[in-house]
């Protein structure tokens, strides 16, 4: 028999589930039952650990036991994992993470470079607690911030704390959260709303999804505190319908929070009432824009409202003052309340406090979800945490901020990453997508890909975005198929400036970024395509060989 108590966590994030993590969980359960080890080995489902590249993941809880980190686990490994806990059992070395450079095994969770260099605040519970069990959240100190807010603080004190923390909205624009809270608090009327924006639509971004799937209560807690601070009694979570697991776990979390009295008419006997509903978005990227999102909840077509207009904090949902923040912004709130604004503001840079969360994807060894203090250098993120570019290939660029962001070249790798530095480089923080590209990536093709996305997702109401992004896409498509014209680079620059300068909302205003930055940093690639009919990276099929071959993009047009 096993003397010691072991706690085994099995990641049940979307990535690991698609790798078969549900089967692994049930096989582990069966094996524990079969050997009658239920007393010694506790097994628990958790949300995403972030290291999706190495999934499915099984971790021996680092807080209570060895912290062994098993990666790429298959059902056939289950018996060996269980045997390792028996007297004389040895850790299953073949499942250890190996350093990509030296191939040296790194058995322990905390020693893996991917985790060691991170600072996990928003992701504090992700991968450690069972997202479907409120007791697990409570055991980590969950809902203590709510208690403190309700019984020890006034709304004014909470808002002051959020303002002093320097927290900026993590949905993309980086607007100071405290100022939004204050504006909603000050707006008149006794009917107000709190909305959590979980309409994460950027290709390659999945941090909002992971937080909702792994730690839904931290978001709920942040929202209730916000409701108390601004004077709202109803909250909505606007979540993509494409995130069924997040919706399921949110539903469970809301029910459990109601049962425990953290949501409802009289929260914890304080007299303050607040409840949260889930609203599933119908799949429009533009509905992530605040005014379009509000219209969408009202049952209307999601089309952003033009400036000048009253702020959502003053005239929002159904014309009432509305506080709208991103998932990660709310998830930060409980910690700011419990640990204080000074603690939070001690991280990050002068103008961007706290941490930044990125979905690290593309040509990088360690794909996954990461959290680092604002101001961390791109090089550390991509090479230390991300493990660099695999296959001995050279790094070429990194695209941040999703389709509205820009491509940053190798020469700027030592740039500290925060809201302002990314904007200065022609890109943006956006929702935190980070796509790494290697020497085999064609930058014109990248620009074409992102413009294809934005031109499809334009709401269609304003001319520059509707027709301009389509035109830019057509020109890029011509260039990548060998039909580029000598004047096309100037044309793209001219159109880019016009679309950015005249579009009604941020979608159109930022849509040219991928084109403008790739021309700025990789103009020679455009020139090779146009003048020499050559794709230096060898990606654009029409320019690689004249022999008929299956194009990489066949069928893409009729999606």
């Amino acid at each position: 028999m096993i003397k010691k108590q072991y706690s085994l966590t099995v990641c049940q994030g979307t990535g690991c589930i698609s790798g078969g993590a549900e089967d692994i969980f049930s096989s582990l359960e069966d094996e524990i039952d079969r050997l009658n080890l239920g007393e010694g080995i506790r097994i628990k489902r958790t949300g995403c650990h972030g290291f999706c590249q190495r999934g499915p993941l099984v971790v021996v809880d680092p807080e209570t036991s060895s912290g062994l980190f098993y990666s790429k686990v298959a059902p056939g490994d289950v018996s060996d994992i269980i045997q390792s806990f028996l007297p004389g059992g040895k850790p299953v070395e073949r499942l250890f993470y190996r350093d990509p450079a030296s191939s040296k095994p790194i058995p322990n969770y905390h020693d893996i470079p991917f985790y060691r260099k991170q600072e996990r605040i928003v992701l504090r519970n992700c991968g450690h607690i069972d997202p479907e069990d409120i007791d697990d959240y409570l055991a980590t100190g969950g809902y203590q911030a709510l208690r403190k807010a309700l019984f020890e603080m006034t709304p004014e004190q909470i808002i002051a704390e959020v303002k002093q923390s320097g927290l900026r909205g993590l949905g993309g624009a980086g607007f100071p959260a405290g100022r939004k809270w204050e504006a909603t608090f000050r707006a008149g009327g006794n009917e107000k709303y709190v909305i959590c924006n979980a309409d994460e639509g950027d290709p390659g971004a999945f941090q909002d999804r992971s937080v909702l799937e792994a730690d839904p209560h931290s978001v709920l807690e942040g929202m209730v505190i916000a409701g108390y601070a601004v004077g709202a009694r109803r909250g909505f979570i606007y979540v993509r319908a494409e995130y069924p697991l997040a919706v399921k776990r949110l539903r469970i979390a809301i029910t459990q929070a109601r049962d425990k009295g953290f949501l409802g008419r009289d929260i914890l006997g304080s007299g303050f009432g607040f409840d949260i509903e889930i609203f599933r978005g119908a799949g429009a990227f533009v509905c992530g824009e605040s005014t379009a999102l509000v219209l969408s909840i009202e049952g209307k077509r999601g089309m952003p409202k033009p400036l000048p207009r009253p702020r959502t904090a003053e005239v929002g949902l159904w014309g009432k003052p509305t506080l709208l923040n991103n998932v990660k912004t709310f998830a930060n709130i409980p910690l700011i309340i419990v640990r204080g604004s000074e603690w939070f503001a001690s991280r990050g840079t002068e103008t961007s406090k706290g941490t930044a969360i990125f979905s690290l994807t593309g040509k990088v060894a360690n794909c996954g979800l990461i959290e680092v203090p604002m101001g961390t250098r791109l090089r550390e993120i991509i090479f230390d945490i991300g493990g660099g570019v695999p296959g001995g290939k050279a790094f070429k660029a990194v695209q941040t901020g999703g389709p509205s962001g820009g491509c940053i070249p190798a020469s700027l790798l030592d740039m500290p990453v925060d809201f302002d530095s990314l904007t200065a480089a022609g890109s943006m923080m956006g929702s935190g997508g980070m796509v790494v590209m290697d020497e085999d990536t064609c930058m014109v093709d990248v620009a074409r890909y992102f413009l294809d996305f934005t031109q499809r997702e334009s709401c269609g109401q304003c001319i520059p975005c509707r027709v301009g992004t389509k035109q830019m896409f057509s020109v890029l498509d011509d260039i990548t198929t060998g039909q580029g014209r000598p004047e096309d680079i100037d044309l793209l620059l001219e159109l880019g400036e016009s679309v950015a300068g005249t579009s009604l909302c941020a979608l159109g205003q930022t849509a040219p970024n991928p084109v403008l930055t790739t021309i700025r940093y990789f103009r020679d690639e455009y020139e090779a395509h146009i003048h020499e009919k050559r794709c230096p990276a060898g990606v654009c099929q029409a320019l690689v060989s004249k022999t008929p071959s299956l194009s990489k993009r066949e069928g893409e047009g009729d999606k």
Partner: protein, 210 residues
Amino acid sequence: MMDKVSFTIDGLEVVVDNGTSVLEAALRNNIYIPHLCYHPDLEARGACRLCIVEIGGGELVTSCRMPVESGMVVKTKSPKIEKIIRPVVELLIADHHASCASCPSSSHCELQKLMAHLRIDRRRVRRLRLPKVKAPLDTTNPCFDYDPNKCVLCGICLQTCESIHRVSALYYVGRGYTTRIAFYGDKSRCESCRECVTRCPVGALISRKT
């Protein structure tokens, strides 16, 4: 509260009622600012983006939604405006399938007026990629046809239906470049008032002679 405000537009000192938009004030004083989605009977939506002007120290705003403020200095023409607005009009023209000669709206078309005002150079338009396919006409409405190839999606028709005739028989469908106005065929609530046809700034809604 002041009833009148005075401001300067293109060097001209003008006095207008408080609450007037910069665009309305300009038009009333015979200063043309390019626009397609503005209509005096309707609330300004700021959707076409063409009426951008420069105020004060160079801030660019849509004049249809910007109320005149006392002492405001407005420029309707500047290199900065020219640089970003001209391509938008060129984009529209490249996208506008039609020959003016055979269009019933010719001579009272807002797009023609815009082109003349900006002296659009066809050679610059030819740098753009022209649409390859023509969308079919929507002939489902009993009293007018809708030509999506001429439509500039100003939204005046649906705004008219919604706020003047109060029927809301038509609305946007689709997204991005394929956005259209939908008339809902035989399920339409249209009462054939033709107010939308009257206000169409181009030749996208054409009355059918029955």
